[in-house]
Amino acid sequence: MLENENHRIAVIGAGPAGISAAVTAAELGIDVDWYDKADQIGGKLNDYYQLFPDRTSAMNVLQEFDNLTGTARIHKHFGKAINHIEKNNGRLVLMSDHETVGSADSVIVATGFDFFDARNKEEFGYGMYNQVITSPELEQKLKTNPDSLKFDGEAPANIAFVHCVGSRDQQIGINYCSRLCCVTGIKQAIEMRELFPSCRVVNFYIDLRAFGSGYEELYREAQEKHQVQFIRGRVSEASENQQHRIVLKAEDTLMGRPLKITVDWVVLLIGMVPSCTQVQVADHQCTDQETGFLKAANAFTGHRLDGQPGIFMAGACGGPMSIPEAAASGKAAATEALQYLINR
């Protein structure tokens, strides 16, 4: 397919988007230099328990991905964080901390996202009170140590989930919606109800965004089958009582009255923010001014980075997205990279 068999693509990032990009590129006959700051593939997929909407085991998905990456065309260079791409005589030079690490004819950036630091929402007491945790922390506990979710050695009696922490919030300068936290909250609420059948679970939301395939059905299942209580209204503050349980003040907007509840755990559904290990491309501004995520030249027609021929983005580095969306994005970016190499 390619005249010059020496063409190489670099894929930066080995999360779902990066895996999909690397595998697709290899299947299309291109050699891939694959980088990730961690020592293994998977990115955040390594930390998840079950994936929405149908509660597939994250480990199974990771295993499936892993099975695809064994091809000889993929050359792994793990343990390196690429933070800069320079342009040099038509080639793209990859640098890690000012040190040249490799070069490529085309690069796919799939560096993913970071989670919002919940300490910036002080009123919820994260980092102050032990019983306030984030959704990724809950995911870890469900996966590796569900017993740690007991309170004083007993099953917890009440758990609250707080939606929109670090998203849709002018106070912290993040005005976008992180899209996947609502369905994460629904899924985790179900998981907690299953783990602790005597526990009351309350989700405090502003707008429930269950847009994806199977998400709305999961919401109904949470309500009807698992008796999760959804309350539309914001939590204004979390304080600790003498037993170290958390007292929450909220508004029930559908009743138009203030509400109070004491819970054993507060789970903050934190949003997605641009990765701090984002790749700089020469000195060009490729990020969206408002959100900080990477920006495509034309989001309707492809994944090429704004102003950068030959550099493509895939996955959540371009904005919040789910694992299947990231994987599809990786495939698309790889195909576009191939088109670029053929046409140049």
Binding site: R119, E122, M128, Y129, S239, E240, V247
Partner: protein, 350 residues
């Protein structure tokens, strides 16, 4: 107990202060402001100046819609003008509402310079003065916070129960105008303010974190000044007192003069109207202002600094700390003559 981690850093000037008084602090806590000036001058060696010509900031009038906004701003501009004339750049406000109001006005002028121009015009017309914004404008509790370690090093007493050796459990209450309006202007921000926590821990006590810690005490002039609303205002203090009761605090401190008065006075009112008592053994919880607490640990005589005027008697606490005082001199004047005793409320001893 976890460390209160959020360190909002705030610039606090270190000397040459221009002090502006509170309208009401001296009414309820007669010794407080003089004590503060004394501590700064004689214990910490600072220069503090208070201008005999300075006035109220009009906070009470502003918050009750009695004084129009332009008037308030012009009066505040005059305060700044006095400061400038006397050669001072650093202001200390005794009252938290004043501090909040100065912050608000400075913020308004920042966003609307034409407003500032207009006020400068009014001030010139009314008084012939010109003004400059202070370089540094803080609340009195910020100063004590800044010098908490110096005070601790010369303190005579610590906030420790002398019988058990345990640190005293202290509830700290921050006036709403201190940090809720402009979180960056408060030490520690608005959710977990540090200004009084810092004092308490530096002086040997431990803070109590109770669920209604952030709740307003109810002393909003807008409501409180009108008697039919009094019950509503008091119900806010009641929420706080009920929430802190299980923690058995030894004392409450507040940096706002109104809050100190509320939490002190309403313990009496709530006992009379509802029979509710919030301290241990049927006693009430003593309430101190930050200056009084500083004076206490520095070894000032309790009656010299006006503690006898508190609604909630302070003797039990003084005994707990081991402060030396003469109980017989409580209701005497400087010459030792009895000036009359109020109807005593029975105190229980555990």
């Amino acid at each position: 107990m976890k460390q209160y981690w959020k360190d909002y850093q705030k610039e606090i000037a270190d000397d040459n202060y221009f002090y502006v008084r509170s309208c009401i602090r001296q009414n309820f806590f007669p010794g407080a402001e003089n004590l503060f000036i004394d501590i700064l001058k004689n214990k910490l060696g600072k220069t503090v100046f208070e201008d005999a010509e300075h006035t109220t900031c009009t906070g009470i009038g502003y918050h009750t819609d009695v004084v129009p906004l332009e008037t308030t701003m012009t009066v505040i501009a005059r305060q700044f003008a006095l400061m400038k004339e006397k050669g001072y750049r650093n202001m200390i406000a005794s009252c938290v509402t004043s501090f909040g109001l100065y912050s608000e006005v400075l913020d308004m002028w920042k966003h609307q310079p034409e407003l500032k121009e207009k006020i400068a015009g009014y001030l010139m017309e009314a008084t012939g003065r010109t003004f400059e914004e202070p370089e540094n404008m803080v609340h009195a509790s910020d100063i004590l916070y800044k010098y908490r370690n110096e005070i601790a090093s010369i303190a005579k007493y610590k906030l420790i129960n002398k019988t058990t050796g345990e640190p005293l459990k202290v509830v700290d209450h921050i006036g709403c105008h201190y940090a809720k309006t402009f979180p960056e202007r408060g030490v520690g921000g608005s959710e977990f303010p540090q200004v009084l926590t810092g004092l308490i821990t530096a002086w040997g006590g431990q803070t109590v974190d109770y669920p209604e810690r952030r709740h307003c005490c109810g002393f909003g002039f807008r409501n409180y000044l009108v008697q039919p609303n009094r019950g509503y205002s008091i119900s806010q203090s009641k929420i706080k007192l009920e929430s802190m009761k299980p923690y058995e605090p030894d004392l409450i401190i507040a940096n706002c003069p109104g809050c100190s008065m509320f939490l002190d006075r309403w313990q009496y009112t709530l006992e009379e109207t509802e029979g509710a008592v919030y301290g241990t053994c049927g006693n009430k919880i003593p309430v101190f202002t930050h200056e009084e607490l500083a004076g206490l640990v520095l070894g000032y005589d309790p009656w010299e600094i006006g503690l006898q005027t508190h609604q909630v008697p302070v003797e039990a606490l003084l005994d707990k700390i081991g402060v030396e005082y003469n109980p017989d001199l409580k209701y005497t004047d400087r010459q030792g003559n009895l000036i009359g005793e109020p109807e005593l409320i029975n105190q229980h001893v555990c």
